[in-house]
């Protein structure tokens, strides 16, 4: 027989234990909950089901000349202006770890010659998994210098064509292409065209030298019988720029690995391993594009050729 006081005390213990059990159960359930990263579906865009489509709403390509007319023997600039949808990017001549270089091929009338394509200084994109890509956002003009033949042109106009292809990526990648054409009259004193655009993008090309670079040391090329080896490029700065980036370029015969370019005090020590694919050409050069950003945010670049192996 229990007294009322003992009954109350017993009930208190009983309820306390219930509450403790419930609290423990909650804590344990929370501790044992699977801790997987939250999987987020990227927003399904118009292109998500049709990845092979030409992607005009992601990239708009236009063919532009810096002249209103063509004069015999007078060089002018011809380029494709890419306008890229916000948040998306296309790739530099070396796309980096992934992606595909943007391509522009000109078709010109007989006797016209074109220089190599000019590549403005790219940006670097870092993605999860230590993946680095090089390319452009917003817009970029890829252009070449075109020289008409010196002899007087027979026709009254010339048609210039360009085939552009690209890979535009954000969380997904969409390939795209455009066939472009421009017809210009043959004229003796043609005025300029698209001056602002060509000036802007000419200013973003790498330079031959960088006035802040005091000196540089480049390690020796591989011996003729070697396929792979380490390289170092040491840059000494007069005044070390606040930001220094390195963009390597190599043709399809060279594989660059272990690339690092730390800067300490006024010295940037670039190191990498270059491997040449067997049975390809003997002489191999790669180019390091060194890009500095000054305190005003102005970016300037200099191309440093590195002889990987001599002929």
């Amino acid at each position: 027989m229990t007294s009322p006081a003992r009954q109350t005390w017993g009930r208190t213990i009983w309820w306390s234990l219930i509450i403790v059990v419930i609290i423990l159960a909650i804590i344990l359930a929370w501790q044992f909950a699977p801790h997987h990263p939250i999987v987020v579906e990227p927003p399904a865009g118009k292109d998500s089901n049709n990845a092979f489509s030409i992607s005009p709403e992601l990239v708009q390509a236009t063919l532009l000349a810096d002249t209103q007319g063509i004069t015999a023997g007078q060089t002018f600039r011809l380029g494709v202006l890419f306008r890229i949808k916000s948040g998306w990017h296309i790739y530099w001549q070396n796309p980096g770890d992934a992606g595909l270089a943007t391509a522009v091929r000109f078709t010109l009338p007989a006797g016209f010659t074109a220089s190599a394509l000019r590549w403005p200084i790219p940006h670097r994109f870092e993605e999860a998994g230590d993946i680095t890509a090089y390319g452009y956002t917003d817009s970029v003009l890829l252009f070449a210098e075109i020289t008409p033949p010196k002899e007087a042109l027979k026709s009254t106009s010339a048609t210039l064509a360009a085939a552009a292809s690209w890979l535009v990526c954000r969380d997904k990648c969409v390939p795209g292409a455009a066939q472009l054409q421009l017809t210009l009259p043959v004229a003796d004193n043609a005025g300029a065209a698209n001056a602002e655009t060509f000036t802007e993008w000419s200013g973003k090309l790498p330079m031959a030298a960088h006035e802040q670079l005091a000196d540089m040391q480049i390690s020796s090329p591989l011996p003729a019988n070697a396929d792979v080896g380490p390289f170092t490029v040491t840059l000494r700065w007069k005044e070390t720029p606040p930001k220094i980036e390195c963009f390597p370029t190599a043709d399809e015969n060279v594989v660059i690995t272990k690339f690092s370019a730390p800067t300490q005090n006024n010295t940037t020590s670039i190191s990498f391993t270059a491997g040449i694919i067997k049975d390809r050409q003997a002489k191999e050069t790669i180019t390091l594009l060194v890009v500095t950003t000054d305190s005003a945010g102005l970016r300037r670049g200099v191309n440093i050729p590195v002889l990987v192996r001599d002929a």
């Binding site: 213990i13 234990l17 059990v21 344990l28 990227p42 272990k258 067997k278």
Partner: protein, 221 residues
């Protein structure tokens, strides 16, 4: 009565307190016991390329049907690991052309094991199964959406191919072929085919590494 209730409660609370103390060591109860292997990390990897390592790899992943696939089960065989992402136009082009499918079929009779790995963060076993069945694949598509295996090997693109020789070391890593634009047709060199032929003939792989091409692997985090 109260004693009984008290005893029952103690038998519940006691083990719970014990388990709470051990919670960090216990595997999540929702997954089968084998899931512990998913956490197994292969031999410590330096940040740089794996071709320098002399230790074999191992991992356990789930395929599109929910079966676990462990790499060490294929010890002594030549293994091809193919990173893919069904959303990537490069992968789509190769599956339309049956590049990997034809290679896997061709070398299966010679004992080569082909495993596709999907490290895309938005994919799971059921989405892998949809892709697997759509192409009637004769090799599994492994769920690596946490990205651990991809990062261990250094898979950066889709496609990205790794060939492990019979000792478990990487004999080839890089692009499937030398045709990133897909416009070389018959003139393209298939790097994987070339490396497999050399390995099966007992030769050293003449081109152990090429720069891979494709979309970037869409890793989680």
């Amino acid at each position: 009565m109260k004693t009984t209730i008290l005893l029952i409660t103690m038998f519940i609370v006691g083990p719970l307190l014990f388990a709470a103390g051990c919670k960090k060591a216990a595997p999540p109860p929702a997954q089968p016991a084998k899931a512990e292997n998913t956490e197994t990390q292969p031999v410590e990897v330096a940040e740089t390329d794996q071709s320098q390592l002399s230790h074999p790899y191992n991992f356990t992943l789930t395929d599109q049907d929910g079966n676990t696939v462990t790499l060490s089960a294929y010890t002594g065989k030549i293994i091809v690991l193919e990173w893919l992402n069904p959303d990537c136009p490069f992968v789509q082009r190769h599956y339309a052309a049956r590049t990997m499918i034809n290679l896997a079929d061709k070398y299966r009779d010679q004992g080569v094991v082909w495993l596709a790995v999907n490290s895309t963060k938005t994919y799971d076993a059921s989405k892998n199964k949809a892709f697997h069945d759509e192409h009637a694949l004769t090799y599994p598509v492994l769920d690596d959406r946490l990205g651990q295996v991809g990062k261990t090997f250094g898979a950066k693109t889709t496609p990205h191919l790794f060939i492990l020789d019979k000792t478990g070391q990487i004999a080839y890593q890089g692009a499937i072929d030398d045709d990133p634009n897909g416009d070389k047709a018959d003139r393209a060199t298939n790097n994987v085919q070339k490396a497999l032929d050399e390995l099966l003939a007992g030769q050293k792989v003449s081109t152990p590494q090429t720069a891979s091409y494709g979309c970037s692997v869409k890793y989680a985090d």
